[in-house]
Amino acid sequence: MREIDAVNITTAVKKLAIEAATDLEPDILDALVAARDRETSELAKNILELLINNADIASREKIPVCQDTGVGVVFVDIGQEVHVTGNLYDAIQEGVRAGYQEGYLRKSVCDPLLRVNTATNTPAIIHFDIVSGDDIKISFLPKGCGSENMSKLTMLPPSAGTAGVIGFVADTVFAAGSNPCPPVIVGVGIGGTFEKAAFLAKRALLRPLGIASARDDVAELEKRLLSVINEKGQGVHGFGGNNTALAVHIETYPTHIASLPVAVNIQCHAHRHKESTL
């Protein structure tokens, strides 16, 4: 069994947190450039150009792309042939704490009722999964809440079918209007249970932009939804044009014969994510 010291986990998470805030990945940069090139509204085109400039300034000067450096959402896929020496959970939280402190990132985590800031941006939200192999893959998604707040979940009757899914996803994006900083990325979870659908919607955001679902019918549904959203949506920042969403990513899971859960997790154009494998 392979041994990994928890200290190495802390170091990796800290690096991911700092780099994610300032350096957009090529998938989102390419998507913003493509959106600018096909944009039909003059104002929206200008805004997209400024967003590309913003990413450039952020990366060169190491200023966060957006002041909302988010709540840390950490996906940890642990190979079943790995043993971590030390406390894995604490090691991840310590990486987040150190990253937000040393990277001059905004600490936005607070008690939900008292609204008192924890001043460390911890605790992060951690999703563990056990996979085969002897690696640990860590994906860091600092999630801004301008977009997170516009997310929704519903439990449709199975009779609602695909049309019901399309209606709910599109309505959620339209109702959000300019609030979540469009062009957005729409993560959709279909099936499972109440919490599984929400998890799938979040996990869908990690799929690189430009890659369709491996399932043909789901890939077709992604394409159809993207076209509905961009035809009728309010466009970049609500200023019109044809780029309300950059992508729709759908993840599915078998569900109960009585159920059709649908979750929509909206992500802003400042789609920050970083991955590392130990």
């Binding site: 300034i57 952020a58 200023i63 792309v65 957006c66 609204r115 800031n117 609030n179 920042h237 609500g238």
Partner: protein, 195 residues
Amino acid sequence: MSLLRYRPDFFDSLKEVKVPFEEGVLEDLHAGQLVSLTGSLYTGRDQTHRRLCELIESGRDLPVDFHDQLLYYVGPSPAKPGQVIGAAGPTTSYRMDAYTPQLLDLGLKATLGKGQRSEQVREAMLKAGAVYLASIGGAGALLSKCITQCDLVAFEDAGPEALFRLEVESFPAVVINDIHGRDYYQIVRDKRKSA
């Protein structure tokens, strides 16, 4: 101005407006217009608003006089040594809707954020002769270049939610709600429906 390096054509096309506003300027602003703000403004977001309204309700003095001022909804990221401010783009405005009418009653003339306002706030703005502007959400690094000074005014313990006074230079924004009752987001939606 370092931003001009990026889009001189774009930034030159914006209407230059001084903040706080000079007499008669608000009458000329119209929904959908691009403006470039220079001068001083105050910042505030969720906790600042909650605290300000608690002070108002208990009849106590506020840390600043909002008369004729512009309030920018932002919670900046920390400044690194040598920086004026960290990333400093707008936050979503609807969360301040519950508090905005009370501040408009004190003479506040403009708010700056992103996203649509409630009907109640739109009515209160119309009554107060105030405007609502949106800047570029998710462009915090770029917008930090338009901020030349940042001073803490109140609520330091609220961290990023403290009330700051900013000096801005050529800060870009779009007029969403003008004092004539027009709403640019609504205008865009109506156009899409009729298209």
